[in-house]
């Protein structure tokens, strides 16, 4: 194996190496009022993990995209600085006799995530295992869901967690990946048929059902269960990802249109039938109608955006407390973007969104350059999933769309989310690597 110096990647990591310890120091000064850098273990640990991932890729001769890791590293950097700034007792681990605060736990998961990312990026030399066992992947996904329904327990009304002794996991995060793999494999096989066969109802062409139904059926089951688990954010994410993959596979805008109409119809029915859906929509439309009751969460978030303004209040200098409690709800998970926007301002918020955009557009580039349909569709699915998740949760924070409880990839606190997102980036890296290697072996004339 030949070492590939990834110079661009390393150069792009330099700001992270400098800024994360600086962020920790600024936070410490602001919170303690003492002019000293404060504890640096976590900052150095984070830098070591990201730089370590870089050198592992170098050591294994990885030739994939060099912008993904810096983008991930930058998002994670904002996340770890923010989580370190928040009260450490918001979350954490106490298992096997070890007590870890929130930021330390997050760091641990980041280490696991980066190892998984590198393992997938360099280990997956051949995508046959993904492509050929698509129904096995689908079965694993269904099993995971079934396990959640049976063994899962509720957090904040959504039944997403399975308790595995020392850790709790969210199977939905892993399901996200296997579902994308399945859909990519299925669409890669049938896309010619789906595109060429013409079945028209009036001006709209609809997918030829015999080829379409198996996937639709599986997808329907997944959606039903997800909705049953009361996880509307994940449902929206799955559905959006599916539509995007369908669009890229077939090039048919009408399919997307049909999907959106179906979604709107389903939503309307749910709105008519279920009180909690109505309540959620009403709160979304006018949270200020009841700012201390039903609208409490979105309103408190909007106030935080307002406080931040363009330049932000500065790390450790924002986040108003009332009676010792932070006023932004779920500030380490659903609303971490709001906290970033308050303390780092519109500029910080745009920067974070920009990092996500880099990840998304590099992902699309990997898809566009992929050497076969499966790799391309897989890259599209992974990218769409990461991108949509980012847009859905940020849009929920800003009241652009109703709020749903999903994480901001690499920023929100949560091991399952980091692990899944890391694996997804690892898959993107491996596709990109194969494209680069393939281009060497059989250069196109």
């Amino acid at each position: 194996m030949r070492i590939a110096w990834r110079g661009a990647e390393l150069r792009l990591l330099l700001p992270i190496i400098v800024l994360v310890p600086l962020g920790f120091a600024v936070t410490h000064i602001a919170l303690s009022g003492m002019f000293e850098p404060g504890p640096m273990e976590l900052a150095i640990g984070y830098v070591a993990i990201i730089v370590g991932a870089h050198f592992l890729l170098v050591a294994f001769g990885h030739r994939g995209d060099q912008l993904l890791l810096p983008a991930v590293g930058a998002m994670g950097a904002v996340g770890i600085v923010m989580l370190n700034r928040l009260p450490q007792d918001l979350a954490g681990t106490s298992a096997l006799g070890i007590e870890l605060g929130m930021a330390a736990t997050q760091l641990l998961w980041f280490a696991v995530g980066m190892v998984a990312m590198v393992a997938v990026a360099v280990g997956l030399r051949d995508d046959g295992i993904l492509r050929h066992y698509k129904y096995s992947w689908a079965a694993i996904g269904i099993l995971l869901l079934a396990a959640t329904v049976v063994f899962g327990y509720e957090v904040n009304g959504a039944r997403l967690w399975i308790d595995l002794g020392p850790v709790s996991v969210q199977p939905g995060e892993i399901l996200k990946i296997v579902l994308v793999i399945f859909i990519a494999a299925y669409l890669a096989e049938t896309r010619t048929l789906l595109t060429s066969a013409r079945l028209r109802i009036g001006p709209i062409s609809v997918p030829p059902l015999p080829y379409f139904l198996p996937m639709l059926a599986l997808f329907g089951i997944v959606m039903l269960i997800v909705v049953r688990l009361n996880d509307l954010g994940t449902a929206l994410l799955f559905f959006g990802t599916f539509l995007i993959m369908l669009f890229v596979a077939t090039g048919r805008r009408s399919y997307v249109l049909i999907g959106l109409v179906l979604f709107a119809a389903g939503f309307y029915v749910a709105y008519q039938l279920f009180g909690h859906v109505q309540a959620r929509v009403d709160v979304w439309l006018d949270p200020f109608a009841d700012p201390l009751g039903a609208g409490f969460q979105p309103v408190r978030a909007l106030y935080a955006f307002g406080r931040g303004g363009v330049f932000g209040e500065g790390l450790g200098q924002g986040l108003v407390t009332l009676g010792g409690n932070l006023t932004i709800p779920f500030v380490h998970t659903d609303f971490i973007f709001t906290a970033v926007a308050e303390e780092l301002g519109l500029l910080g918020a745009f920067a974070l969104l920009g990092f996500a955009a880099v990840l998304v557009f590099r992902g699309l580039r990997i898809a566009a350059l992929a050497r076969d349909d499966f790799s391309g569709l897989l890259a599209v699915g992974l990218t769409a999933s990461l991108g949509l998740q980012t847009l859905i949760i940020i849009g929920g924070n800003t009241k652009l769309i109703p709020l749903t409880g999903i994480t901001l990839p690499f920023v929100s606190y949560g091991g399952s989310s980091i692990l899944a997102s890391s694996i997804m980036v690892g898959l993107l890296l491996s596709i990109s690597h194969r494209t680069a290697v393939g281009a060497d072996v059989e250069p196109e004339a």
Partner: protein, 510 residues
């Protein structure tokens, strides 16, 4: 290959990123100023915890409410529980009420009374400067009135009938607002105790309490009928003497006279009818006036809708008073002649606040012009040493509305002077005469009320009036006194009113 479709997808996603970016900028830039000033903004709530509030003074510069900031926590101290239902409270746990709420932004200095300076402050982003307030009420009169009520639930409202300045506004029982306006962590217990108290100390009776007025309403009926030309001071009703004994049957319902205490019925004109408080006479007057005009005059006098104690851009609200059954905050139509005839002597469906009845008295005292009452006299620069600053930033005044003609008011006034001082009236309202309390050469005008509540409940004791009221004098104080279930108006309310009016005349050097 799918590359083309991926590029198209890229465009859509770029659009999505742009829309989300715009939504962030919307709240962080465009909406930020509006968000910053909303009362439920946690930053505003948190800032209030540490913001110094201005001092509130009485009319003579006595401190009534003052703030101090200790360890970043702003706490409010109130000097006199007699003022609680005027000033309200400013609690970090329960929010603000009364003047504390109406003048919230002025007290903490978020708004400069001078709008131009407010803009300058915004531009310079100065720290808010607290402002002080001074009231129209002299603490001595307020305390005097509160002492007069003693342990009885009730209210005293006194105002200058010409200027509209509130001179006293007492609601009993009251409470000390200091414990709920300090550390928010220990405010719950005293508040719970107040909420659980059956005597309802949290109710601002003067403004928010609604009571059957009884015979004091006859002042309204008199004024309205005189103004409408329905009666003159000489008007008599031929059937009245006989009906005093046998009852006046309206729509099959017999209206009966109250116990006249041995006074023999005879054909009474207005003055005598008011002196003995003849229900029969005023039932006739009400029917002569008619339902339409009765309602019309009631609205003119402030009934049938919300009322405010100024200044009008920062008002204290007063509960609406009604002469018929309430309907969506308005007076419904009279259900028939029985309701009209009984309303004319203050029974039926009539419910009124003490403030409303004080304004009725003030309108007669003011020759038919109803003053707009107000209780905050001015806004001043804040001083740290608890003295009244000489720098007046904003002054409030009031206008008045003509409700009835000067002649009608004068004729009503004459009858009210008789009701206190006349041969028959003395037996009922004589105790309201200020001469009894050391004010020589002056006369009171007024009317007692003994509001029947039905059942075994003791009637409410009422008095409204003003002084000085003799020919040629300009009345300086108009009052309404209510004692809940205090018995007859003559026994309880009239002497309180007399003493309060006399005290005011003494204090003002009259």
């Amino acid at each position: 290959m799918i590359a083309t479709n991926v590029r198209r997808l890229g465009l859509y996603l770029m659009l999505a990123f742009a829309v989300v970016s715009a939504s962030i900028a919307w709240w962080q830039v465009l909406e930020a100023p509006q968000l910053a000033t909303r009362a439920d903004n946690p930053e505003v709530i948190a800032a209030r915890r540490s913001l110094l509030r201005g001092t509130i003074f009485d009319a003579t510069g006595q401190v009534l409410a003052t703030s101090q900031v200790i360890d970043g926590l702003s706490t409010r101290t109130y000097a006199d529980p007699a003022f609680t239902h005027v000033i309200g409270y400013s609690s970090l746990r329960f929010g603000s009420t009364g003047i504390e709420a109406a003048f919230e932004d002025v007290l903490v200095g978020r708004t400069d009374p001078n709008p131009i300076r407010d803009i300058v402050n915004d531009v310079l982003n100065r720290q808010p400067e607290p402002r002080d307030l001074s009231l129209t009420i002299d603490r001595r009169l307020q305390d005097f009135a509160a002492n007069e009520l003693g342990g009885d639930a009730g209210a005293v409202v006194a105002l200058d009938p010409i200027s509209g300045q509130i001179l006293a506004m007492v609601s009993v029982p009251s409470f000390d607002a200091t414990p709920i306006s300090g550390d928010p962590d220990v405010a719950q217990e005293p508040m719970d105790a107040l909420r659980g108290n059956e005597a309802e100390p949290l109710l601002a009776r003067a403004r928010q309490g609604r009571y059957v007025p009884g015979s004091i309403m006859k002042v309204f009926t008199t004024a309205a009928a005189l103004d409408a030309g329905v009666i003159t001071p000489d008007t008599t009703f031929a059937d009245q003497p006989e009906q005093e004994t046998n009852g006046f049957v309206v729509d099959g319902f017999p209206i009966r006279e109250h116990d006249l205490g041995g006074i023999a019925p005879s054909l009474w004109p207005l003055s005598e009818a008011l002196q003995v408080s003849s229900n029969i006479y005023f039932a006739h007057v009400g029917l002569e006036l008619g339902a339409e005009r009765f309602l019309e005059y009631a609205r003119q006098f402030g009934f049938c809708g919300p009322m405010q104690i100024g200044p009008l851009d920062r008002p204290l609200s007063v509960a609406p008073s009604y002469v018929t059954a309430a309907e969506n905050g308005e007076c419904s139509a009279f259900s028939g002649d029985v309701e009209l005839a009984t309303a004319a002597f203050g029974q039926g469906s009539v419910l009124a606040t003490p403030v409303q009845m004080a304004l009725l008295a003030a309108t007669i005292a003011g020759d038919g012009v109803m003053p707009q009452p107000y209780v905050v006299r001015d806004v001043r620069a804040h001083t740290d040493d608890g003295t009244l600053s000489q720098t007046v930033l904003d002054e409030f005044g009031s206008g008045g509305t003509r409700v009835i003609s000067t002649q009608a008011a004068r004729a009503t006034r004459t009858a009210m002077v008789d009701a206190v001082n006349g041969e028959l009236g003395r037996l009922y309202a004589g105790q309201a005469d200020v001469t009894l309390y050391g004010i020589g050469g002056q006369r009171s005008a007024g009317k007692t009320g003994t509001a029947q509540l039905g059942g075994e409940q003791a009637p409410h004791s009422w008095f409204i009036g003003f002084a000085p009221a003799q020919e040629g004098a300009t009345p300086q104080i108009a009052v309404a006194v209510l004692v809940e279930s205090g018995g007859s108006g003559s026994g309880r309310a009239a002497p309180i009113a007399g003493r309060v009016m006399a005290e005011y005349l003494r204090l003002s050097g009259g």
